[in-house]
């Protein structure tokens, strides 16, 4: 009886479990311990050759930053199109499965490019961002966004939305826009901080 129940609701149970563990981690001493343990890694990042290039040549940093913004624009554009369609705001004449599939491809390219350029930029200012709470908010939002997109949203929408409750589809679209807005806005905030 119990194994059948657990198996039938395994995705929901996993979602609750991951949320519980994340909240428990966030409000415990483990978070501070993990933060302190990461300090040598950030010090090493700044002395690595990526960090040295980023700090020495401002022009290289500026070009990579521009590419980072372009990647974010690509990612954001793909999200606006797919989530806007899910909310019924735009492109209503385009089949939703086709649109979601193509937008997801653009989203993945944008995400990979944003991660690659973001890592380079982080190396150049590693010891600064390590002490910025907004950087950790961004990393948390990024992790939540990636998990939500690939473990929840994508599997849910891959089989179409016709059999789904409309409010579930809307909630998924709003949550997706919210979490990626938080990632982008926190990233901009890092630029204003310190």
């Amino acid at each position: 009886m119990l194994p059948t129940f657990l198996n039938s609701w395994r995705r929901s149970i996993a979602t609750l479990a991951v949320s519980g563990v994340a909240l428990g981690f966030g409000f415990s001493a483990w978070r501070v311990n993990a933060w302190e343990a990461l300090q040598p890694l950030f010090a090493w990042m700044e002395t690595s050759w990526l960090g040295a290039i980023g700090k020495t040549w401002g022009g290289v940093f500026a070009v990579v930053e521009a590419m980072h913004l372009l990647a974010m624009a690509m990612l954001g554009g793909a999200l606006l199109v797919s989530d806007g369609r899910l909310l019924g705001w735009l492109l209503r004449d385009v089949p939703v499965t086709l649109l979601l599939c193509r937008a997801h491809r653009v989203f993945v390219i944008g995400l990979v490019a944003a991660l690659a350029t973001g890592m380079f930029m982080a190396c150049a200012v590693a010891t600064k961002i390590y002490f910025l709470p907004v950087f950790w908010i961004k990393m948390l939002a990024l992790a939540v966004g990636v998990l939500f997109t690939f473990a929840i949203k994508r599997p849910l929408l891959a089989d179409g939305i016709e059999d789904l409750h409309p409010w579930v589809v809307r909630a998924v679209a709003v949550a997706s826009l919210t979490v990626w807005f938080t990632v982008a806005a926190s990233g901009r905030w890092i630029g204003f901080s310190g």
């Binding site: 609701w9 908010i137 849910l156 059999d163 789904l164 409750h165 998924v172 949550a175 919210t178 938080t182």
Partner: protein
């Protein structure tokens, strides 16, 4: 609707509710902080 889809829907609803709730609290606190800073700057 089969059990797999029901599970996917519930998981999506839980995750979406969690994300929207946490984001609302976070941005409300940030806006409050900005307003307090502006009020202090005005004296």
């Amino acid at each position: 609707m089969d059990a797999r889809r029901k599970d996917q829907q519930l998981a999506a609803l839980l995750a979406a509710a969690g994300i929207i709730g946490c984001a609302l609290v976070y941005w409300a606190l940030q806006i409050q902080q900005v307003l307090e800073t502006l009020a202090m700057a005005r004296g």
